[in-house]
């Protein structure tokens, strides 16, 4: 297994280099520059700004300088926010984005696994159709619709929860976590149901039942471990998706996470910020996929053998 992990890490390095290089050149090829504004700046001001940020240098020189700095952990200054470094902005937004993703995945796992397991156990009954219909709805309803809807009900009409913010008012993390986690809960419910149905039909489950174990023990001690395998495989890309895709929820709930910087950087042609966040999110996606693969290897002996 260690060999597999090492191989995956070795593959990740060139992947990151390719992603970063392509991003570097794409940002420079995109029309418009970081200092373009509705009120056009005099050319001499633009020249001075280009000089300050080394944008007058030939592209290969910029490329070399940038990646030399990245190797020593310096992602450069943000063009949009003078005085802030990209590293500083990532380290400010990241804990919030991580926390939001953590609560969202927690919510998704709790609701998703519960619904999936019940649906599998009560196949072709109301307790199967109803949660699965809700799950389908959860997958279809986008966060930009669900978020404002929840805010309207719980924040404005019922006045139970804050409508926005993060670590500002008690309970302000509930609605964003549910909004972000809802679609994932729905996926997990469907994957969990499929996995559990497959496992519940296996011989070892029949043997466990024949031994006289209660249904709860059969499910918790024997079925669940195999039943959640598809869910575990899904968790890697899901967490990466939660991190990189939190932009909409951060915007709806006014959350100071990293997602907002990521998207705005592209609109603002904030070259260093685009590169920094892209490299970072790519690394995160690779890392969480790796973690998910390792978990599958631990949980599934057949995967280890193959």
């Amino acid at each position: 297994m260690i060999g597999i992990i090492l191989r995956r890490i070795l593959i990740a390095i060139p992947v990151l280099i390719v992603v970063a290089s392509i991003t570097f050149f794409l940002t420079r090829l995109a029309p418009g520059g970081p200092f373009d504004a509705e009120k056009k700046l005099p050319q001499e001001v633009i020249d001075n700004l280009n000089e300050v940020y080394n944008l007058n240098a030939p592209i290969y020189e910029q490329f070399y300088d940038y990646f030399s700095n990245v190797l020593v952990g310096d992602f450069g200054p943000s063009f949009r926010y003078p005085g802030r470094t990209v590293t500083e902005m990532i380290s400010t937004g990241l804990p919030v984005t991580f926390e939001l993703a953590f609560y969202a995945i927690l919510f998704a796992l709790l609701i998703g696994l519960l619904a999936g397991t019940i649906a599998a156990l009560k196949r072709n009954t109301f307790l199967d159709y109803f949660p699965m219909a809700i799950a389908m709805l959860g997958i279809c309803v986008p966060t930009f619709l669900l978020g404002p809807f929840l805010v309207l009900i719980f924040g404005i009409y019922l006045e139970l929860l804050p409508v926005s913010g993060w670590d500002t008012l008690p309970g302000d993390k509930i609605l964003p976590s549910i909004t972000l986690g809802a679609a994932y809960a729905a996926y997990i419910a469907r994957l969990g149901r499929g996995g559990m149905i497959e496992i519940l039909g296996q011989d070892f489950i029949r043997t466990a039942r024949a031994k006289g174990l209660t249904e709860t023990k059969v499910v918790i001690n024997h079925a669940l471990q195999g039943g959640i395998l598809p869910v575990v495989s899904f968790l890697g890309p899901a967490i990466a998706g939660l991190l990189a895709g939190s932009f909409v929820v951060e915007t709806i709930f006014q959350i100071p996470g990293l997602g907002k910087f990521y998207v705005e950087a592209a609109f603002n042609r904030d070259y260093t910020m685009i590169l920094g966040t892209t490299i970072f999110f790519s690394a995160m996606i690779i890392f969480f996929n790796l973690v998910s693969d390792i978990l599958v290897l631990i949980l599934n002996p057949r995967a280890r053998d193959s």
């Binding site: 200054p77 005085g83 927690l106 404002p148 500002t168 309970g171 709806i252």
Partner: protein, 535 residues
């Protein structure tokens, strides 16, 4: 599982409402909660640009003068308690308020302004508003590196309490310019403590480091979350300041801001969601405020293209637009139809130009230009940056030109930076544009259409226009000056390199507790005039 259920229970229990909303608590403690658009780039007055930055800077720093919060033409004293214009009509002497202090207690001196303007004009700082000071003698020469010695620039401390500013020419709106933050001072010792004169890192502006001279001072700054400023006890007019704190929230999403206002989290919003404005107007929402604003929404015409180089064609296009219909049925939020480039009322300047909605005359002009009933006229493209509001207006105009003039129009939206780049390279036919004035004078509008100006972006050149605007800027007699500017405006509207559509308004929501938030076309709200009180 048990642990998780416990966490969830704590979560739900913790969600119990704390009772008072921020707005209610704000009233008790004189804390204003203000929706401030986007995250500010920073608060170094010589580096930043933009409205959210200005909202904070107007609280924490102060220039020689401030704008009249009630919209009056004359500026009010800031650091300078009075000023005089010498006989040559181009040398000002500003007398400093002896009580003007920095937030660390140091006295604000004329020397501070000399150093600050030197900083703003240092090319390697990369200030984006350095041209605001180019009216000062030799300022541009210093910026361009033609002179190295800053003492040759026309700004001098002539005593401990007097600053003399010599201008290149008579510039009647110069005092108005001084209310713009790019001319405001920075605390030399603090700036130099954290870097060189041209250091853009702005470390000196961080909480704990920041020193400036406004009615408020920086207390905390949580990136993308909130900026808090508190009352500055050293401010020269501190007795007048009633607010204890202002909390600025960078909320870009209009709907989020609207929900926060409805839930009592904000006293003032930055905007009103476009789709909700007509509903609020119809329901007579008491929180909705629509104030005049010094900005024009218009269409640029690329006059370098053969079919748009004829002014008769451009006038025909202007006459084919029913502006009344656009403001009443499309934008629907109190905007005013525009018949001039400069918004009427800018520093008591009321242009008399007319752009009539007259499809028949428009057709006649098109026929004269060789396109009877629009026949033979190439399909034109309207370019705009991606935004629903711009799309609706472009679609309405597309329809009007088709029906009224027989011209085929395609509309094309792009990302903001692509849109800017295409305008700059004259790679468009018709392009949406907006211009917001920096200071209260018609010059802030008419100046940009002078030949060769970076913001002209239409390829239009008219030397009579250039002569009139240049002459007006050297005329100290205001009546004579406005006459020349009016003449220039008439040429602009007659030639129509730009088609005015409507005059902007500032639409926002404000809680009835907020007092002293007067309407003014620059949308400047100096915190010392604002307070919270329940009727």
């Amino acid at each position: 599982m048990k642990n998780f259920i416990s966490i969830l229970s704590i979560f739900i229990l913790a969600s119990c409402s704390s009772g008072k909303t921020p707005v209610e608590e704000g009233l008790e403690n004189q804390i204003l909660h203000w929706g401030n658009g986007s995250e500010p780039q920073g608060i170094d007055p010589h580096i930043v640009t933009g409205v959210p930055e200005h909202h904070i800077l107007i609280g924490v720093c102060e220039g020689l003068t401030i704008t009249d919060p009630k919209g009056g033409r004359e500026n009010l004293p800031g650091v300078a308690q009075s000023w005089t214009l010498k006989e040559d009509q181009k040398t000002y002497v500003f007398s400093f308020n002896p009580n003007a202090r920095w937030s660390n207690g140091d006295r604000v001196t004329p020397e501070d302004f000399v150093w600050s303007w030197q900083r703003a004009l240092t090319p390697t700082l990369g200030s984006q508003y350095s041209e605001m000071l180019f009216y000062v003698k030799n300022a541009k020469e210093f910026y361009d590196g033609k002179i190295d010695d800053f003492s040759e620039v026309g700004v001098k401390a002539i005593s401990d309490y007097e600053l003399e500013v010599e201008l290149e020419n008579q510039t009647p709106f110069f005092v108005g310019l001084l209310a713009h933050y790019s001319t405001w001072p920075v605390h030399k010792e603090t700036v130099l403590k954290f870097g060189e004169i041209d250091d853009r890192s702005m470390k000196w502006t961080r909480p704990g480091n920041h020193v400036c001279n406004g009615p408020m001072k920086l207390k905390s700054w949580e990136l993308n979350k909130k900026i808090v400023v508190e009352k500055n006890e050293y401010y020269w007019d501190a007795d007048r300041v009633k607010l204890n704190e202002i909390h600025y929230y960078p909320i870009q999403n209009e709907s989020t801001e609207d929900r926060m206002f409805r839930a009592g989290a904000l006293h003032v919003t930055n905007v009103v969601p476009q789709e909700k404005c007509p509903v609020y107007l119809e329901n007579k929402n008491p929180s909705l405020r629509i104030d005049p604003y010094m900005g024009t929404y218009y269409y640029r015409v690329n006059t370098t293209l053969p079919h748009l180089s004829d002014s008769r064609v451009r006038k025909a296009l202007a006459m084919g637009i029913n502006r009344k219909l656009i403001v009443e049925k499309v934008s629907k939020c109190g905007q005013k139809t525009a018949y001039s480039f400069t918004p009427p009322g800018t520093s008591e300047y009321y242009p008399d130009t007319v752009v009539e909605f007259n499809p028949e005359k428009g057709k006649e002009l098109l026929t004269e230009a060789g396109y009877p009933n629009g026949e033979g006229f190439p399909t034109i493209e309207i370019l705009f940056n991606t935004q629903e509001g711009h799309r609706k207006i472009a679609e309405a105009i597309q329809q009007m030109w088709k029906v009224n003039l027989g011209i085929n129009v395609e509309i094309y939206n792009t990302d903001w930076k692509v849109y800017l780049s295409r305008q700059d390279n004259l790679d468009y036919q018709i392009s949406r544009a907006g211009w917001i004035g920096d200071y209260q004078d018609p010059n802030t509008f008419l100046e940009i259409m002078r030949p060769g100006r970076g913001n002209n972006q239409t390829g239009w050149t008219n030397y009579e226009y250039e002569k009139l605007v240049a002459e007006a800027n050297k005329t100290s007699d205001q009546e004579e000056r406005y006459k020349k500017l009016m003449e220039a405006e008439r040429i602009l509207i007659d030639e129509m390199p730009l088609i005015p559509i409507y005059t902007y308004v500032k639409q926002f929501q404000i809680h009835p507790d907020v007092k002293g938030w007067d309407a003014n076309i620059l949308d400047h709200h100096h915190p010392k005039f604002v307070y919270l009180e329940r009727d």
